[in-house]
Amino acid sequence: MAEITLKSLAHTYLPEPQSPEDYAIREMNHVWHQGGAYALLGPSGCGKSTLLNIISGLLEPSSGDVLFDGEVVNSLPPEARNIAQVFQFPVIYDTMTVYDNLAFPLRNVRTPEARVHERVMEVADVLELTAQLKRKAKNLTADEKQKVSMGRGLVREDVSAILFDEPLTVIDPQLKWKLRRKLKEIHQRFEITMVYVTHDQLEASTFADKIAVMYEGQVVQFGTPRELFETPNHTFVGYFIGSPGMNFLDVTTRDERVMAGDTQLTVGKNVHDAVANARSTNIKLGIRPEFIEVHAEPVEGGMQARVEHSQDLGTYSIVYLMLGGIALKARIEEDQKTPSGKAWLRFPDERIGLYVDEFRVEIDHE
């Protein structure tokens, strides 16, 4: 059982880092609580795998500390850390049977054979591998192999956390949800801390209670899937989460009005004040495609936009709009009428986010 704390952790692969860009992980503080199901979400190359390898001990951080239950484990090798890791491509021991694969971590520490048998049978049962136990691991399908590599982590009684490094990459789509459900089930049954690295937001939000979104070596937001969706802390989270991502408009104030380029936006006074008070040249308003009101007829306070085209995705459609010179996407549910030619838009004030220098600033909605 462990609570994993990252204290002023940073890592670089370069011997003499000059700027923050040289760091794969920029200085961060983070806590993974015991028994939680977490996801580490981010695009390729954002440092998620590096972070995972630092936690498991395969990499030693350039600076800062990794603590397990308050103890610094920086210099402990992976074998001394009570942590299991499942890799992107299933790692199995080819020449061994499934049974021997599962027994391997236990036999390595000279567990009595009776105990080994007990554990292997238990884990095989949970993972639904009992029927395959006598088969050579080499000839299993990709998802079975991945279950075996997961099983080698579960079989150890001392494991306090399992780290997953994009474990479903090589699995067929129709089997993905099955394995994901299995993971959830295992998490509930064993109460093990699980950290799941992925670049797929759907995978992250179905697996995890809380998601850490990484961008350029930093955790830009740590929150529930709902928080990430409704109140993204950083423009990157807005882009990355949601399908399609959030609309961002560069804005300024002119003559008591909020302007996006030459287009005047109809927004409430508190939004205007917030924009006017921001001391930066990089001010953006963000609104999710789901929250833009699209009307086929003129409405009060509606901004007239041109409909470029729309994409029907079955249960909803995405409408591509031009508001002045700004491209916007809006999501329309299937029961709503899809406008053509012209549309009138409204941005509900409480759904607008203000981003100053890419980070969210709360708008006072009094």
Partner: protein, 293 residues
């Protein structure tokens, strides 16, 4: 798709047929031709059937040469394969050291057979050879022209020196192709160094080792120039291997019929051993597949 039937397409295999005929079938058939006849001159020949084959199979000198040959091949394989794997395991994996060691290891492979024999001939001389002189100075009466044991040991040492690099290079490339995740998973599973070797490295080396063992078996079974230069087959006939026996018979004594029969037997032995070895390995892997089917 419409299938077009046109038997003229058979002509397309003609070039290949000719190529195979000239490269393999015709040369081989001349040997077969000699092996079943007794040829005196261009106009006089007698059909002998299997007579030469029987004679060759019953020749005690050749029988012992075959046994000697097997003993030699198995000995060098038993030394070179484990040694080659060992060298591959300790070779540096990156940086300039990797390139430097790679070149050093490859060096013996680039030396022609005759030259290897000559190098060792001089190396082992008692008067001017470093090894021969050194061993004598140490008090050991080393002499490859008098002692069969010394001659054997030297030839094996020479072959190990010349050909272990081949196994090492093959294994090195095999080891390089193992993804890091395997080693990382093994660390997390707390596998010992031995377990990593036994369950990750060795299984991943199976394919290159099959090639390595086959090549080394065929090569060593055909060894000629090195022992010929080094010991000339002696002392006595203690280091006379099959190729040398054959050459003596065919070139030295001009016994074309028996040599042809002997060549075919020689060829069939190599073919048989490699086939058995290859089939055995492939069957080992196939059995695994069947088990779970």
């Amino acid at each position: 798709m419409n299938k077009v039937y046109n038997n003229r397409a058979w002509w397309l295999i003609l070039p290949m047929l000719l190529l195979v005929a000239f490269s393999a079938v015709i040369p081989l058939m001349t040997v077969v031709n000699y092996s079943v006849q007794d040829v005196f001159d261009a106009n006089t020949r007698f059909f002998t059937g299997t007579e030469w084959f029987k004679e060759m199979l019953n020749d005690p000198a050749l029988q012992s040469a075959v046994l000697r040959q097997f003993a030699f091949s198995l000995t060098v394989l038993a030394i070179e394969v484990p040694l080659g794997i060992g060298i591959a395991l300790i070779m540096p994996k990156k940086g300039w050291q990797a390139s430097a060691v790679l070149i050093l290891v490859t060096m013996p492979l680039l030396i022609p057979w005759n030259v290897v024999g000559s190098i060792w001939q001089i190396f082992t001389r008692g008067d001017i050879g470093l090894m021969g002189w050194g061993l004598r100075e140490l008090g050991y009466g080393y002499n490859i022209t008098a002692s069969p044991v010394d001659a054997w040991a030297t030839i094996i040492l020479m072959d190990v020196w010349h050909w272990t690099p081949l196994i090492a290079l093959l294994c090195y490339s095999g080891l390089r192709s193992i993804p890091d995740a395997y080693y990382q998973a093994a660390r997390i599973d707390r596998a010992s160094k031995w377990a990593v070797f036994r369950y990750i490295q060795l299984p991943k080396l199976t394919n290159v080792l099959v090639i390595g063992v086959l090549l080394r078996f065929m090569h060593s079974f055909m060894i000629y120039a090195e022992p010929f230069v080094l010991t000339g087959g002696g002392p006595g006939s203690s280091t006379t291997f099959l190729s040398q026996s054959l050459t003596t018979m065919a070139i030295g004594q001009q016994d074309l019929g028996p040599s042809a029969a002997f060549s075919l037997i020689y060829f069939l032995i190599i073919l048989l051993v490699t086939w058995v070895f290859y089939t055995a390995i492939m069957n080992m892997q196939k059995d695994d597949n069947n088990k779970e089917a």
